[in-house]
């Protein structure tokens, strides 16, 4: 595919800056990828494979080595799929439901605001459900976003049952003829069994009320997070069958490289990236730009 092609050529450009592909090169590559939070196991596997491939094919020319590197990196991200994995699964007829999950403070509520804005601009009627009834000020925060974007927010009072709020959100969205319902949930650490069960319950309500829903379960990951993001992806997938990732806070200096390993191990694609706190700071994920970002520091040298 086109994306795949341009992706490899980008990486080729990058590796071309290194005249020699020797031990130093591999050491640099290892450090660059580890410092981007790709994860030490993934990085070492990759480098071992690269070295083996170079040996196996008896490659002497550094240009040929470069090709192998880009092939491997492309493989890690794309696997068997093509580029359509980045698209949101939204249908044109009927109500679509998107459930947001993730640990505390990663950017769930903010992403809902931004995505609501984006969908509204695409001409869709959007409703928000304030499913975080726990954290202080969470409902008010979503309401501010609702006002900012100009969409309705369905809420109960603080401390009420999140599943009940989502249920009401669905009924309201149906009766208003909405295209998309975005459901906020309280942040929770993945090792809290009760809280994870609560989330499964919320999902079951959605499944029961609208056949085929939720159309997306989006796990929001903070790009600043290190290796724990893998544990988050595993556990949230077990309880809510995550369909995509939103990688937030990529406007900082963190690279969020762990999504490569997550994609590789769990087959969950990244759908969006968060690039700031304003309404339009949400972009569709672009693997080219992402991998390029991983190497940005290497390029500057």
């Amino acid at each position: 595919s086109k994306t795949r092609g341009s992706f490899s050529s980008k990486i080729n450009d990058l590796v071309a800056r290194y005249r020699k592909v020797d031990e130093d090169f591999f050491e640099d590559l290892e450090e660059i990828l580890i410092s981007a939070d790709v994860g030490v196991t993934t990085v070492m596997d990759l480098i071992d494979e690269l070295k083996m491939e170079v040996k196996r094919r008896n490659i002497k020319d550094s240009n040929d080595v470069k090709e192998v590197i880009s092939e491997k990196l492309v493989d890690i991200y794309y696997g068997e799929d093509d580029e359509t994995i980045e698209d949101l699964n939204i249908h044109h007829d009927g109500l679509n439901i998107v459930l947001f999950v993730g640990v505390n403070g990663v950017g769930k509520t903010t992403t809902i605001g931004k995505l609501a804005h984006r969908l509204k601009n695409e001409g869709k009627k959007v409703v928000l459900a304030a499913g975080d009834t726990f954290r202080a000020g969470a409902i008010e925060q979503l309401e501010v976003w609702g006002e900012r974007v100009g969409v309705e927010v369905i809420k109960h009072s603080e401390g009420s049952d999140p599943a009940a709020v989502i249920f009401d959100g669905i009924q309201a969205a149906k009766s208003r003829g909405a295209d998309v319902l975005l459901c906020d949930t309280a942040g929770r650490l993945q090792n809290k069994v009760n809280l994870m069960n609560e989330l499964s319950k919320v999902k079951r309500v959605i499944e029961r009320e609208v056949p085929g829903a939720p159309h997306e379960v989006l796990l929001v990951l903070d790009a600043t997070t290190g290796q724990n993001a893998m544990s988050q992806a595993k556990t949230f997938s077990e309880s809510t069958n995550v369909t995509g990732i939103v990688l937030s806070k990529l406007d900082g200096t963190a690279k969020g490289g762990i999504v490569l390993a997550i994609r590789n191990e769990l087959d969950i694609p990244v759908k969006f990236v968060g690039l700031g706190e304003k309404v339009d700071d949400l972009q569709q994920f672009d693997p080219n730009a992402f991998v390029y970002g991983l190497f940005a520091d290497m390029l500057e040298e």
Partner: protein
């Protein structure tokens, strides 16, 4: 396999050198390789890991035999000691100003846990030291940030100073100090907006607040799940503000929390408190030794040493 503990990792190497009288350079090399992996998997910054490993090598090569420990046990002991040393002693004290109020400023990246920790600290000061803090809502940017702090204030039955979102944070901080003096609050805790360490305008705002209110403590609040970037964040905040302490949040999760080591290494400021949950009582003194075990994934070091 990710998140395998150091103890498991070292098991094989230990089996091999068990009973040897002296730790050779090769033994140490193999062991430090495993230690390096364990640290990287725990999110300790790779540069910090490098320095640390060199130190371990120095100490471990050719060291004399202690009667009670095998060479393998000794290396583990050295690693844990060095790690604990690096993280410093237990330091959960909060400064007291000569003339009240004592001013504490909370700073950090978005979503780290500043507002929640503001509430927790206030609770701790009142409970443990019988203090009477004033909470200050100086985050005028995040939607409903003031509301969040006010809700916490209500839960604690403590006053929250706010001037809404139309007044500058510097002005809010200044007026809050005046009010604290007038109402005889002995502590003032200023909750600031989350910001990126590379956002020069917002970092300058913090500098302005600092110059105006001359805080006795500036706590950098850091999410324990932070990865390799922790050093950049901590370094920037420290360079620009001279932080006096670190609060590590969300340690109730299953992260190894290697960021703690990175932050300590680059800022050389003590980690004072650990956030252990979302409730206002979930704040604890930071225990360096427990943290060292956690980073290494050595929940059960003793049993390992027995096995070795």
């Amino acid at each position: 396999m990710a998140f395998e503990g150091l103890a498991d990792r070292l098991q094989n190497t230990i089996q091999r050198i068990k009973g040897k009288g002296k730790v050779t350079e090769q033994d140490v090399k193999e062991m430090t390789r495993e230690v390096r992996l364990a640290l990287l998997e725990a999110d300790v910054n790779f540069k910090v890991v490098k320095q640390f490993i060199n130190k371990i090598k120095e100490r471990a090569v050719g060291q004399e035999i202690m009667e009670s420990l095998t060479p393998g046990q000794q290396v583990i002991k050295v690693v844990k000691e060095e790690l604990t040393n690096l993280m410093g002693g237990e330091q959960s004290k909060i400064a007291v100003a000569d003339r009240p109020p004592t001013v504490i400023m909370m700073v950090g990246l978005q979503g780290a846990g500043k507002t929640t920790t503001t509430g927790k600290l206030a609770n701790l000061l009142r409970k443990k030291q019988n203090r009477n803090p004033l909470l200050v809502a100086a985050d005028i940017y995040r939607p409903a940030a003031i509301n969040q702090l006010q809700t916490l204030g209500k839960q604690l039955n403590m006053p929250v100073f706010s001037l809404g979102t139309e007044v500058s944070p510097v002005e809010i901080a200044n007026q809050a100090i005046e009010q604290a003096k007038a109402e005889h609050h002995d502590y003032v805790i200023i909750d600031t907006a989350g910001r990126l360490h590379v956002d020069s305008d917002l970092m300058e705002e913090l500098t302005q607040i600092k110059e105006n209110v001359k805080p006795d403590e500036i706590f950098l609040v850091v999410d324990a799940m932070t990865g390799q970037d922790a050093v950049n964040v901590a370094e920037s905040f420290n360079e620009q503000l001279d932080i006096t302490g670190v609060v590590l949040t969300k340690l109730d999760g299953d992260t190894r929390g290697g960021a703690a080591l990175s932050i300590k290494a680059v800022t050389d400021t003590p980690i004072k408190f650990a956030g252990m949950g979302e409730k206002l009582t979930d704040l604890e003194a930071f225990h360096p030794e427990r943290m060292a075990s956690r980073i290494l994934g050595m929940g059960d070091v003793l049993s390992l040493i027995e096995k070795a």
